[in-house]
Symmetry: C2
Subunit: 257 residues, 2 copies
């Protein structure tokens, strides 16, 4: 790429694809991808595009145009190896559409590897739009320079999501009752490692749910400060603190200057 001719904020487009990525591979563009690259982003033929599929790291490809809304990508070389680190899991009570979409977008930016929408006693949504949430996660993964897209599980009752919980994965539970220690204090001495975060719906967890969660030896109930946070805010705060204390926030971005 002739970097010197590009504005300082130029970034090669990043696309999530399903196909395997390997040296010499040629990927046809879908009509939608071709339109996006040529018409929306106004990329010229031979422009560089970055690709990832969740398995093979990140690859640079050259864009070739074969028609008005048609083209293909010729893989040039690997730019990043596959990720070795799997991110946190986020369990969240199904809430309204807009905050749910915000949770999916921001959790993807923050490195979550699995999103598990759950039904709790006070959650009031019976379905999620899985296709739409997947599209939001893909877009956020493309934009945030992730190498994978988080898996979005089907909506399930909270007890089902906890039934096979791996014993080596700490589950941090946002407890709004004011009785749990602040998250940073609760995790004093905890070693970096796999974790999950569970946040409840607007009305909080029922007392019976909190009592039940307190019986589980992989659970740490924590508070997020003195104010009342909306459900989606609690999810973002818990993920930010979790990634800073236990996760990959200690890693820097690849240097860009």
């Amino acid at each position: 790429m002739p970097d010197t001719e590009l504005p300082a904020t130029y970034r090669a487009p990043r696309l999530f694809v399903e196909a395997p990525l390997a040296a010499g591979a040629v990927l046809p563009l879908s009509r939608e991808q071709a339109r996006y690259l040529f018409a929306v982003l106004r990329r010229k033929p031979d422009a560089a595009v970055l690709l990832f599929n969740g398995r093979d790291g990140e690859w640079a490809a050259f864009l070739r145009q074969t028609g008005r809304d048609a083209g293909l990508l010729e893989l040039a070389g690997q730019t990043r190896p596959p990720a070795t680190h799997a991110g946190p899991w986020l369990l969240f009570a199904a809430i309204k559409r807009t905050p749910t979409e915000l949770i999916v977008e921001k959790a993807t930016e923050l490195g979550v590897s699995r999103l598990l929408p759950v039904r709790t006693e006070r959650s009031n949504q019976d379905r999620i739009n899985h296709d739409r949430l997947t599209r939001i996660a893909i877009e956020a993964a493309e934009q945030s320079e992730r190498l994978d897209v988080p898996a979005i599980e089907a909506l399930q009752p909270l007890p089902d999501a906890l039934a096979d919980w791996p014993r080596d994965r700490l589950l941090i539970v946002g407890d709004e009752t004011g009785t749990a220690p602040p998250m940073r204090e609760a995790l004093t001495g905890a070693r970096p490692g796999p974790f999950g975060l569970l946040v409840g719906p607007e009305g909080g967890f029922a007392q019976g749910e909190l009592d039940g969660l307190g019986q589980l030896d992989f659970v740490a109930k924590v508070g997020f400060g003195p104010r009342v946070l909306r459900a989606e805010t609690a999810a973002l705060v818990g993920l930010a603190l979790g990634q800073a204390i236990l996760g990959d926030f200690a890693k820097a971005r690849p240097v860009t200057r």
Copy 2:
């Protein structure tokens, strides 16, 4: 309040008002407030309402109806003393409407006391809707059980916002270039105290801006992990970590059970 007759998720409405709050005071409701309490929230006469004005703590009042869309509030007693702790300041590059509104709402939930929109080399918005952002901040303050509403300053060039910066207030700067230490590491050993956070626009800061910021002895440049965060996500992550390490996240909420 007869708690036993109320559902577990019941919460008295909280309203921000301008008037002084003191024992025996009677506040007329605006037509809008009366409609909100009687028609939207369906509160009956004599229902309890909580009030705050940013100066006098929080007060409980009883709702009296004097007409279809008219009523008043009779102050009963103080429920919380005035806050003694002032929150962090958030400087953010003016960005598009939706993410700006998200920043204002979430920063209010997270305890910010001053919001300072700034113009940077790569920010691309020349104005903010001050009235609308103030309404969003008031609503978030009511909902999050704050005792005050953050001040929202006029949009100004970044250098102006830094001109009179108090030397005892650390300014944490989100640096996306991959050269700054992770925020938690950068603040190792820092003592709780006043701080500000500065986040740039989508395209990041110009190199000259980052170099200039690095010359200031109250600035700490920090990274937020290995992914690219949107501007509004960086603001929320920086505030969450800042409040956990330097701010009031060590305080618990009043116990609600």
